[in-house]
Amino acid sequence: MDDLTKLVSNYIAKEYLVEGSEVTETMTLISSGIVDSFSMVPLKRFLEKKCNIKIADACATAEAFDTVQNIVALVRRVQNE
C-alpha cells in the first residue's frame, strides 16, 4: 500500500467506521451507506488540506468518493492537473 492509499484508508477507518473494523481499497463507501453525502464534506476538506489541492465541487461526485481506490485516483488526477 502506498502512502496516499494508507493516508486515505486510515482516515476513513477513523472517521467513519466503528472501532476495530478495517477498510479495503475496493469496499464501497457511499453506495453502501457507510459515508453519506453529508459526512463526505470533512473527507473532501481533509484531502484538500493534507494533499494541498483544491477539489472542484463538480469532481466531488458520489462515484469519485465511493472507494479508497477512486479517491486516490481522484487525488492523483487533481495533483497532475
Binding site: 472517521e15 467513519y16 453502501s32 451507506g33 453519506d36 453529508f38 459526512s39 464534506v41 470533512p42 476538506r45
Partner: protein
C-alpha cells in the same frame, strides 16, 4: 421548454426506477381524525377499515383532543382563517406573540420565533446565524432538514459519529481556529429513538467554547419529568443556546415550528432567516390550538406520564415476545428486522391484522438496518397495545423470527 415527450419519458423512467428499487412511497388514505384508532382506505379504492395506529408522532394524543379542537374553533372565530401575509408585513397577531412567549417559558429560553414548520426553522437558522468564519459540527444522524440548513449556510460543515463524544471532542479541538463553533444535535433521534448525550455535549461546549443547537422535535412535550424536552431529562435545562422544535408532533400535530434560545440568535432569525421572511405566517387557528396545548401540558404531566408508561409496557411486551428492539426509554421503539423486504412484508401483514405500522429501510436508515418503527401515544390504552402485540406475535411467528437476535435474523434473511 415545453413539457415535451422526451421530458415526460425521462420522468417516467425515473419514477419507474424508484419503483424498481422498492423505494416508491404510497400514501394511505385516512378517513378519520388522527388517533389511536383510525379508519384507513388502502390500497386506494379498497373498503375503509378500522385499525390501530402505532406510527404517528401524536405522542401526547392531542391531535384530536376536544379541548384543543374547541380552542381552535374559538381562535378561528376570533382571529379568522388566514392572514395572507408573511410575519413582518401584516402577519403578526397578538396571539402569535403570546405563543412565542409561552414557548419560551416552556422551553426555558430567552425568546422564540415561530416558523411555518420545523423544517423551515432548521433550513433558515444556520444561514441566519453563522458565517464562513464559523463551523457547525453535527451528529451524523441529525434530521434531513438540519443537513439542508447547514448546506444553505456559509459556515464550514463538519460532523461526528453518532453520539460519539470522543469524536466530537476531536472535532472541537480541530476547529479551535474558527470564530464560532456550534454543536448540532437532535434531542431524540427519530429513527433509533435514542437520546443525545446532552449533558456531555454541554460540558464539551463549555470546555471548547462552542454553542449548542438542539432539534427537540421528538421530545418537546414529553421527555423530562415535566415534558420540557431532552435538556430537562439530561439536567441542562436553560443551558441550550438554540432549540428548534415542531408543533407538528406532540404539541397538537397541526403544523408550525420555532427557533427558541438566546435573544440575539432568535432576533437574527427574525431579521435574516429566509423561510421566516418569505413564507406565510402560521394560521391563527393553529396558534390558538397550540396555546391550548401549552395550557394542558403545563397544568398536568398526566399525558406524558401515561406515554412513559405505555412506552415501557410496549417495550416489555416486545422483548418478552422475543423481538429484537433498540433499547431506550423514548416512545420511539424500532423493531429491528435488518432486511428491507422482510420489513415491507412484515408491515403489510400487520396491516392485514389491523395494525398500521411502517417499514423503514435504506436510504431512510443505513443499509442492513431495516426495521418497523413503532411509536407510542398517550392516546393508546393498554388494550390497544395488547391487541397490537397479538398481531406482532402472529406475524412474527409466521416468519419464524421470535427469539432471533441480529446475527440470526441476518443469517436467515440477509441484510
Amino acid at each position: 421548454m415545453a413539457f415535451n415527450e422526451a421530458g415526460r419519458s425521462w420522468y417516467q423512467a425515473e419514477i419507474q426506477a424508484i419503483r424498481a428499487a422498492g423505494l416508491f412511497k404510497d400514501e394511505r388514505l385516512i378517513c378519520s381524525p388522527q388517533s389511536a384508532e383510525i379508519e384507513v382506505e388502502f390500497p386506494a379504492g379498497a373498503a375503509v377499515r378500522k385499525c390501530i395506529n402505532i406510527c404517528a408522532n401524536n405522542y401526547l394524543g392531542l391531535s384530536s383532543h376536544p379541548a384543543v379542537i374547541r380552542a381552535a374553533h374559538a381562535g378561528l372565530d376570533a382571529r379568522g382563517y388566514g392572514m395572507s401575509s408573511v410575519r413582518f408585513i401584516c402577519g403578526t397577531q397578538d396571539i402569535h406573540r403570546q405563543l412565542e412567549k409561552r414557548l419560551s417559558e416552556f422551553l426555558g429560553t430567552e425568546d422564540t420565533v415561530l416558523f411555518p414548520s420545523c423544517m423551515d426553522a432548521n433550513a433558515g437558522f444556520f444561514e441566519a446565524c453563522l458565517t464562513e468564519r464559523d463551523v457547525a459540527i453535527a451528529d451524523r444522524l441529525v434530521h434531513a432538514s438540519i443537513v439542508d440548513g447547514m448546506r444553505l449556510s456559509k459556515a464550514i460543515q463538519d460532523s461526528y459519529k453518532h453520539s460519539d463524544m470522543g469524536h466530537l471532542e476531536e472535532k472541537l479541538q480541530e476547529h479551535q481556529d474558527k470564530r464560532f463553533r456550534m454543536i448540532v444535535t437532535d434531542g431524540v433521534f427519530s429513527m433509533d429513538g435514542d437520546l443525545a448525550r446532552l449533558d456531555e455535549i454541554v460540558s464539551l461546549a463549555e470546555k471548547y467554547d462552542a454553542m449548542v443547537f438542539l432539534d427537540d422535535s421528538h421530545a418537546t412535550g414529553f421527555i423530562g419529568k415535566t415534558g420540557r424536552g431532552t435538556h430537562e431529562r439530561c439536567g441542562v435545562y436553560g443551558r441550550i443556546d438554540a432549540i428548534t422544535t415542531t408543533l407538528g408532533k406532540a404539541l397538537g400535530g397541526a403544523s408550525g415550528g420555532c427557533v427558541s434560545g438566546r435573544r440575539e440568535l432568535v432576533e437574527m432569525c427574525r431579521q435574516r432567516a429566509r423561510p421566516f421572511l418569505f413564507s406565510n405566517t402560521v394560521a391563527p387557528v393553529i396558534v390558538a390550538g397550540a396555546l391550548q396545548v401549552l395550557d394542558l401540558i403545563s397544568a398536568s404531566t398526566e399525558r406524558r406520564d401515561k406515554l412513559e408508561w405505555n412506552a415501557a409496557y410496549w417495550r416489555g411486551l416486545l422483548t418478552e415476545a422475543g423481538f429484537d428492539i433498540k433499547a431506550g426509554e423514548s416512545p420511539i421503539v424500532p423493531v429491528m428486522l435488518y432486511n428491507a423486504k422482510l420489513a415491507q412484508d412484515f408491515a403489510r401483514d400487520l396491516f392485514t391484522e389491523g395494525i398500521y405500522a411502517v417499514g423503514f429501510f435504506f436510504p431512510v436508515v443505513p443499509k442492513g438496518q431495516a426495521r418497523i418503527r413503532t411509536q407510542l401515544s398517550a392516546a393508546h390504552e393498554k388494550h390497544h397495545l395488547d391487541t397490537a402485540m397479538a398481531a406482532f406475535r402472529k406475524v412474527g411467528t409466521k416468519y419464524g423470527i421470535l427469539g432471533l437476535g441480529r446475527k440470526e435474523l441476518i443469517e436467515k434473511f440477509g441484510m
